[in-house]
């Protein structure tokens, strides 16, 4: 009986504590971020509404002119499309790969430590340098992929040229036409950074390469933090395999997975390092992203107002996506 009386009072104490404690705990982070990001962000928004240049941050008010001007450029629209394409595809690749990897890495097997080390390597590499590494791998003359494709890779007399195998595959009529892949000419091998489709693929691949380890670690951490009781309970209920994944693991992982995905999206859509170093938007500006296009316009060319407008185009879209996803995660979690 006495416990029942005491419980509400204790809860009230906690409640009182909460309204004080929560703001106290949150305040430092909020203040820090507000000072460092909110201020500059407001300035960036202001710049996008002026005709400021890199040489003079005080421009005249031009309203939405910059947004209109940006939209009028075909390259901008291509960049917008590329950004969305690039983000969506690379995130799908990352989610699937990281999901598979995290589940596989939960098991223990011989050599796991070494394999996991290999998988973590990309995440331990400064991306600017890692991308330079890919620049070398995709090099127009010394690129190792192309060398491997067009040379006899079997030592001895059995001549096996990988490109012949690829061409045989490409000749299958089942492939859709829009793929636009022509057979490989050993004297003019595919230019991974010089063909618009291949260059997009290369950018997506490098980005996936870079994010997969990070997503795997987050998933792994999420899975590891699942209390074993839940596992036991699931076993008792007879949920195994895919059913268990769908009804037990997934809902529990959703908050973390959502955050990982969201950050993946933001990271992909707002980071320009990979594209900038790998193709610089080439060939013929066909792989420009909003970030690189904004940089080339606002910083390199000094048309700051316009550059700010270009870079902010995505902000409302991202914000809506983010809020929807966060709400969704919340609802799933509550139910």
């Amino acid at each position: 009986m006495s416990v029942a009386v005491e419980a509400p009072r204790r809860r009230r104490d906690v409640l009182e504590e909460r309204s004080v404690l929560a703001p106290v705990l949150i305040a430092p982070a909020v203040i820090f971020i507000a000072v460092l990001v909110a201020g500059p962000l407001l300035l960036a928004i202001y710049l996008s509404l002026t005709d400021a240049t890199a040489g003079s941050l005080h421009g005249h008010w031009v309203g939405l002119d910059n947004y209109r001007e940006a939209w009028n450029s075909p390259i901008f629209r291509r960049a917008l499309r590329n950004t969305i394409l690039f983000t969506v595809i690379s995130q799908i690749v990352v989610l699937v790969s990281a999901g598979l990897l995290a589940h596989a890495l939960l098991k223990s097997f011989r050599g796991k430590w070494l394999l996991r080390f290999f998988i973590l390597l990309p995440w331990a590499t400064p991306i600017a340098l890692g991308t330079i590494g890919f620049l070398w791998i995709f090099d127009s003359l010394f690129g190792v992929f192309n060398w491997t494709l067009v040379h006899d890779v079997l030592p001895g007399s059995h001549a096996f040229y990988p490109y012949k195998a690829v061409n045989w595959l490409l000749a299958r009529p089942a492939l859709p036409d829009w793929l636009e892949i022509s057979p490989i000419d050993p004297n003019n091998p595919p230019q991974w950074l010089g063909d618009s489709t291949l260059a997009m693929a290369a950018i997506i691949a490098v980005h996936a390469w870079r994010i997969i380890p990070f997503a795997t670690v987050i998933f792994l951490a999420g899975l590891a933090s699942m209390p074993p009781e839940i596992d036991d309970a699931a076993k008792v209920d007879g949920a195994t395999g895919f059913r268990k994944f769908l009804y037990v693991t997934l809902p529990l992982q959703l908050p973390i997975a959502t955050v990982a995905l969201l950050f993946g999206i933001v990271f992909t859509a707002t980071d320009m390092t990979v594209v900038f170093i790998l193709t610089h938007g080439g060939p013929f500006n066909s792989t420009q992203m909003l970030t690189t296009w904004a940089f080339d316009t606002g910083i390199t060319s000094g048309n700051l107002g316009l550059g700010a407008a270009i870079s902010l185009y995505l902000l409302p879209i991202l914000a809506i996506v983010a809020i929807l996803m966060l709400r969704f995660a919340r609802r799933v979690e509550v139910s």
Binding site: S140, H280, N285, F295, G302
Partner: protein, 473 residues
């Protein structure tokens, strides 16, 4: 580093009180020093003592990591130390990668602090509002050396605002490198674009194609604009009106498409700035357009760390840009333009540094391996004739191959935006790679020459309109 603050305050104070006075004195100092530099050696001590009273504090310079590491070593280790000692100024130099320059420049303007001297590698016309008008020292040096070269003048002056927004200390001629052994088989030399067109197929068939980039990088940009000029096609006219949608542009596009189809491979769309150097140095290409970095790379140390390749170097010749149906006219490869920020803390020292460097440019010319040509040709005493003599002394084979550089620098080098000035709009066209884009789309058969030219015209006109409303052109 520790004691910059008080110095800063001093210079700020003097700046506020008598900026004009300071400029006047700096000019005088420069003048006197100029006499010292060009005159008898005994005068130096007296002059520097005078200059030493005028200048003080630190001078912070930012410039690119030069293609020739040895140049940076000499500049950082010897040149600025000597100059600093003579002038009682502590000089520091920071180097950044050439691709990082615009971002850092914009950051310094936003921060309203940074270096006193900032070297861009393309005319930074869009920074005009944040930099000093250098008319006074331009006139000072012009009085001593005669007028600066046309390419330098058009890369540092804005006729609309009548302002010298930068100091064009050097420009880099952009020759053609070609292999006489491969070209022999075609029975021609790369004298005209027609020669290239005719020889292309043969060169490709022997496995050594022509290498002219159509990619998102500097070399491609410059090669394509040069090709346009040779056909009489320009981005803008002298009054900064867009004139790209012309018959001449379409002709240039057709020429390039032909050369590509006959004698090049897809690699040229994938290139970054280093690729044509690498492909040439690997012995693959029969021709490439680049600054002398190719020839110097083949010579190995001290220019670069890679070993020398005399087998290729000895059959590598340097030519001016091929002649087109209208003329022979290339572009500068890079244009070194220093600016002095309005917020620079040691403007007097910065100005004098520029003046002194320009008045005796010979060591810069030599230490850079004839990469840097002076904005005022008389900066090397004796002008182009003297430079010709210096280049003739180079011992690398084929002997005398560098002498043509002087001719190229004198006759066949235009500024970006020729026949107009290098303005902010031209800079944006350049930075967005719109010209290589136009050529690549035609070469790949994605667009007809007419469509590509008019698409480029639309995009470029919008850029010009944007800068015109900003009252910069």
């Amino acid at each position: 580093m520790k004691d910059t603050r008080p110095r800063v305050d001093i210079s700020k104070a003097s700046d506020d009180v008598t900026r004009r006075e300071l400029l006047r004195r700096a000019g005088m100092g420069a003048l006197v020093l100029a006499y010292g530099a060009s005159g008898a050696k005994t005068a130096v001590a007296g002059v520097t003592r005078f200059a030493g009273r005028e200048l003080s504090g630190t001078l912070k310079i930012l410039q690119w990591s030069h293609f020739v590491p040895a140049y940076d070593k000499w500049f950082d280790g010897t040149y600025i130390k000597d100059w600093g000692q003579k002038n009682d100024v502590q000089v520091t130099v920071d180097h950044v990668n050439l691709a990082e320059l615009p971002a850092r420049g914009a950051a310094e303007v936003a921060a309203q602090s940074g270096h006193d001297l900032f070297q861009f590698l393309a005319p930074p016309a869009s920074y005009e509002d944040s930099v000093l008008d250098l008319r006074d020292i331009v006139q000072e040096v012009t009085k001593k050396l005669g007028p600066m070269t046309r390419v330098a003048q058009r890369s540092s002056y804005n006729p609309r605002t009548k302002k010298y927004f930068g100091w064009p200390d050097n420009y880099v001629p952009d020759p053609v490198h070609w292999r006489s052994d491969y070209w022999q088989e075609t029975g021609r030399g790369p004298n005209s674009w027609e020669d290239l067109r005719q020889a292309a197929a043969k060169l490709k068939s022997i496995g050594h194609p022509i290498g002219i980039g159509m990619s998102q990088e500097l070399d491609s940009n410059m090669a394509m604009i040069a090709l346009m000029q040779c056909h009489g096609a320009y981005i803008q006219n002298e009054e900064a009106r867009v004139v790209i949608n012309s018959k001449q542009t379409r002709n240039a596009l057709k020429t390039m498409r032909d050369i590509f189809k006959r004698g090049m491979t897809d690699e040229v769309f994938a290139w970054q700035a280093a690729s044509n150097n690498q492909a040439y140095v690997a012995g693959r290409l029969s021709l490439a357009l680049n600054a002398v970095s190719i020839a110097r790379t083949l010579e190995g140390p001290p220019w670069v760390v890679t070993p020398a390749r005399p087998d290729i170097g000895d059959v590598t010749h340097i030519n001016p840009i091929p002649k087109g149906p209208v003329q022979r006219l290339g572009l500068e490869h890079v244009m070194g333009v220093y600016v002095i920020w309005k917020f620079a803390q040691n403007k007097a020292a910065a100005k004098q540094f520029l003046v002194d460097m320009q008045l005796n440019y010979t060591p810069h010319f030599q230490n850079s391996g004839f990469y840097n040509f002076p904005g005022w040709s008389n900066g090397v005493k004796g002008g182009f004739k003297a430079m010709h003599r210096l280049t003739a002394q180079d011992k690398h084979r084929p002997l005398g191959k560098y002498t043509i550089l002087t001719t190229i620098a004198q006759k066949y080098t235009a500024n970006v935006g020729y026949p107009g000035y290098s303005n902010a709009a031209i800079d944006e066209v350049w930075n967005k790679f719109l010209i290589p884009q136009m050529f690549a789309q035609v070469a790949q058969g994605k667009m007809t020459p007419a469509d590509a030219a008019s698409a480029a015209d639309r995009e470029i006109k919008q850029i010009f309109a944007s800068w015109r409303t900003k009252k910069k052109i």
